[in-house]
Symmetry: C2
Subunit: 595 residues, 2 copies
């Protein structure tokens, strides 16, 4: 048996003790980080959530305690009573907060023994992620993960205090609900009371928060789990957390102003970083033009230049015909990289191919000539124009993609990010925000031969574009906005449609008829007929935001108990088989999947 | 089409304006609470979340605006621009915060029209709950429900700020997880990626919070949705919210001290009520003795008295034989109620029968005699002893239940509550708390012929009772504690087992062998072998707590979008049919239920 806590009461945490405590009797409790014997004395680094203190078992203080301390191993859980003492001058550890003192122990309780952990609880760990997920409670003991969780807590506390002060009401919306038409796949929950029916876990509380505006709550927020049954190829989780907000009687400027203040408050509280200037803002069209993608990383330059007009009549038929067919030719000048090897260029070409670019043309600018398979196709005038447009100087290499606008932009936009990574242009300690506004309302889905909402079907069109809704839907901009940080979208939202007639018009543009609309979200359409205020909102992805705050590469590092890419929990073995009786009560059965 | 928000910006809420604003130009936005025409002028009570302001459309100010205002009906959503003006002296409404002023409107925008709502948006509503749940967004416009939601928000903000200040870290635990062995029925979620397997929605984050203690987080909290697929006969919801806490290196006193401070902070912040004294505390045994149930309502007396010793040898064989067979005879003296009619007594007898009491004996104490079918069976000594024990005085009526202890206590305990309701002894504005401690560790389940955990299998036994664990389990007390308010359990918790050997002993007492334990929660048992701190915690039911704070009778009144007793959402029509393709992807199908 281990020792009981009994009447022992902790007096301090393991980070607090310093020279001012010398001579005091104190009680510490924590884990054995490290134990060493030196000259018949046992030294233990005792660790709790806050820090580490050296505690000393010296037989000259208590032989029985020293004897008992022989048993101690790493990760044992101890309670010790003792006197704070100055360390000998040559033993002072200036790198430790408590490095000037140690505790001479006169009472020891061993609350818990510990088997040798499958990996060392150290700052740097080389165990596989599989083993670390299986023993997540051990991995969470490491400073890095522990600090991530605390940063997450600080983030949410900041959100709550900031929004509370601005008059937002935290209202819980249901988890067992009806499928929301957000596009992604729902998680279903079979109903026992209503056999044959299913609840869906929410992909977002979108409709509920709009109904709360109809109910008059004016300013709502919630930090809420959302669920998407997607293939987890990217850094996604089946359940993720949103900071979800909605406001009545506001325009996009107001939503953005409050959201921006919130993000600034978080960075101030969690990282002590100030952003005195307003975040920059650009339209979606500008982002596409300059960066090729709608979430530009502004920590570096390498902007895309449209050279379609210059090459439209060039002898290089690949470029000319693309332009002729409504495509785009854009280029990036990688300054000073004219020494890129054939292998490097091939790698970049393969990279661009992932984004469907059929090729990656390039020109190296040498002192005396342009070195390139395609240089010969350009006239002197075209060369001069390219030189001006792209600021070409000796030592540069310029990359071209020529394709349909969507492919040109995405391939070159991604290439821009890749080049920045390879060239070391990214400062990991920099945070560059930008708002993106004026998104197109619709995009045309070639496969389904119909328009899709770029945001979601409840996003309002720009008031000035209302008359183009039916006649020219691709020209209609929406009142949506995204906030981008270091090339990652951390939040987005829109002003919503609050007029039931306009909502029906937009649904019709999306090919959703009255019957289907009624079936899917008739309750929202009906609510809009009982007095709905103008309203809009925004949601931030908490996991991604905290990931960026903690300078982590994966959201798994900022989630206490994440799932694998196969949506399993390696610690609890979820999901698992259900008992036959459970399925019987739900009136469902499992079937052999169709191959 | 309705009007656009455009450049109109709200300057004030509808509760703010008073005499100090007279002469100012302001903008209000809100709903039409009421409209009346008087002398060619239109008066509208404009309502927003905060309050109501009277706005006036006078043709002498603007004929076009007055003309447009003709269209206004109840629940229309308006934006108005106008000048604050003093009301004529005889029109001042002292009962309204803004009753001294009105706003003379010179610009009107109609943001949204409203059909006639299915019920009036008034403080008192006589519509059925069915129609109110269907149009929940309209019901939430009523002051009562709106204030309940705001009280809920204040409650959770208080919890977060209080616990943050005490060093608790808010950590999210998974929603898609493995079945926790809490006894109730799980909601299952079929997995698509791992076909044939199921996640369970958590009944509580019990195991995860214990793992967070093993991980060293020391103080954890979370306000979290939990799920139980129970029959909703009582005032239950499929999803409910817990304030969930766990602490390391503490005993029950510390957990109770922090929890009590939390509850006091909530009552202070939400209701401005102080509780300067510590909450009383009684053992489970005392609660059963004095009140018959473990959640006594202390707002009134009517305590139960055990008279088994007095009646053990009485000629009244019913009593005597119950005592002989290990039963209990207990009584309540309803003072001054000797004039209860036969009908009243019959009703109480029926009430007691619901709790399985086979009869309800009674004696009316008259000036000159005891009037009762059973009085004749008692000797003078027995009568004198009953008189002393029960403080019998002329005008009293005393009720007896004689049965096995569990039945006697529960029937008479419930009768005590019923008598208090009938006699008007309950002060609705009073809040009486008590802690209940020293619960039994186990109870014997006659049906399953085995011991069950009264709390849950991870609750620690009293350290002083450890040696009785195998030899006399029913005598073992646990380190569990409940907090009871006005007869309702609002929270409960325990010190947990942190020693894997002790955990296995307790599981063995419950008839859970090593294999079953490993299968169900092997990850917890394993975690306890890697260094687990002594720890304990508590969870409050947020819904019930807010219900009591708001003096509501049902938790549905403090949940924004509650479900019916059949677990359906009348507004969204959840649950509903799933598409065949969805079920196919999940490799499940619905089957005809077994009758």
């Amino acid at each position: 048996m281990t020792d009981l806590l009994g009447d022992m009461k902790r007096t301090h945490s393991c980070i607090e003790l310093g020279e001012s405590h010398i001579g005091q009797d104190i009680v510490l409790m924590g884990w054995v980080q490290h134990r060493r014997d030196h000259g018949g004395v046992i030294f233990v680094d005792l660790r709790d959530r806050k820090g580490i203190t050296q505690v000393v078992f010296d037989p000259s203080i208590s032989e029985t305690v020293h004897e008992k301390a022989q048993e101690i191993r790493n990760e044992y859980v101890l309670g010790i009573k003792g006197k704070v003492s100055a360390r000998p001058a040559d033993m002072v550890n200036a790198r430790m907060t408590t490095g000037a003192i140690e505790v001479l122990v006169d009472e020891l309780r061993i609350f818990s023994r510990a088997k040798t952990p499958p990996f060392q609880i150290e700052d740097r760990v080389d165990a596989s992620e599989t083993i670390r997920l299986q023993y997540r409670y051990l991995d969470l003991r490491r400073t890095q993960l522990k600090n991530n969780m605390i940063a997450r807590h600080k983030t949410t506390m900041t959100v709550r205090n900031y929004l509370d002060a601005k008059g937002f009401v935290d209202i819980e919306t249901p988890v067992l609900t009806k499928s929301t038409p957000e596009g992604a796949r729902d998680y279903l929950v079979p109903s026992r009371v209503n056999q044959g029916d299913f609840y869906a876990l929410p992909q977002s509380p979108q409709l509920f928060k709009q109904l709360l505006m109809v109910a008059g709550f004016d300013r709502y927020y919630q930090i809420i789990k959302c669920f998407r049954d997607e293939d987890l190829r990217a850094d996604r989780q089946p359940e993720f957390t949103q900071i979800d907000m909605e406001l009545s009687f506001v325009d996009e400027q107001k939503v953005m102003e409050i959201s921006e203040g919130l993000i600034k408050a978080i960075f101030k509280n969690v990282l002590d970083v100030d952003f005195p200037e307003p975040f920059p803002s650009m339209t979606w069209a500008e982002a596409m033009e300059r960066f090729g993608i709608d979430r530009p990383d502004l920590r570096f330059g390498l902007e895309l230049k449209n050279v379609s007009d210059i090459v439209a009549n060039a002898d290089f038929k690949v470029f000319a015909s693309v332009v002729k067919n409504g495509g785009l030719v854009k280029a990036i000048n990688a300054k000073g990289c004219a020494d890129f090897s054939r292998k490097q260029i091939d790698e970049l070409t393969e990279f661009a191919a992932v984004y469907r670019a059929k090729g990656l043309a390039w020109i190296k600018i040498k002192e005396d000539q342009w070195q390139s398979p395609i240089a010969k196709f350009f006239s002197d005038d075209e060369k001069e124009a390219l030189k001006q447009r792209l600021d070409l100087e000796p030592g540069d290499i310029v990359f071209f993609v020529a394709d349909q606008p969507k492919i040109t932009n995405e391939a070159l936009g991604q290439l821009r990010n890749e080049l920045a990574r390879r060239l070391g242009l990214i400062n990991d300690n920099e945070f560059k925000f930008t708002w993106i506004t004026h998104f197109p309302m619709f995009e045309y889905d070639e496969t389904e031969k119909r328009y899709q909402a770029l945001h979601h079907p409840f996003t309002a069109p720009m008031e000035s574009d209302l008359d183009k809704l039916e006649s020219n839907p691709l020209e209609v901009n929406s009142r949506a906005y995204d906030l981008v940080l270091n090339g990652i979208e951390i939040g987005g939202g829109s002003i919503r449609i609050h007029d039931s007639e306009l909502q029906e018009r937009v649904l019709k543009c999306l090919g959703i008829g009255k019957e289907e609309a009624k079936e899917k979200f008739g309750f929202l359409l009906e609510a809009l007929t009982f007095g709905a205020p103008p309203h809009g909102g925004l949601a931030f992805g908490l996991d991604r935001l905290v990931m960026l705050l903690c300078r982590e590469d994966s959201i798994r590092s900022v989630i206490a108990f994440p799932k694998t890419q196969k949506a399993t929990c390696l610690m609890t073995q979820a999901p698992s088989k259900a008992a036959p009786a459970q399925l019987q009560e739900l009136a469902i059965k499992t079937v052999k999947p169709i191959e």
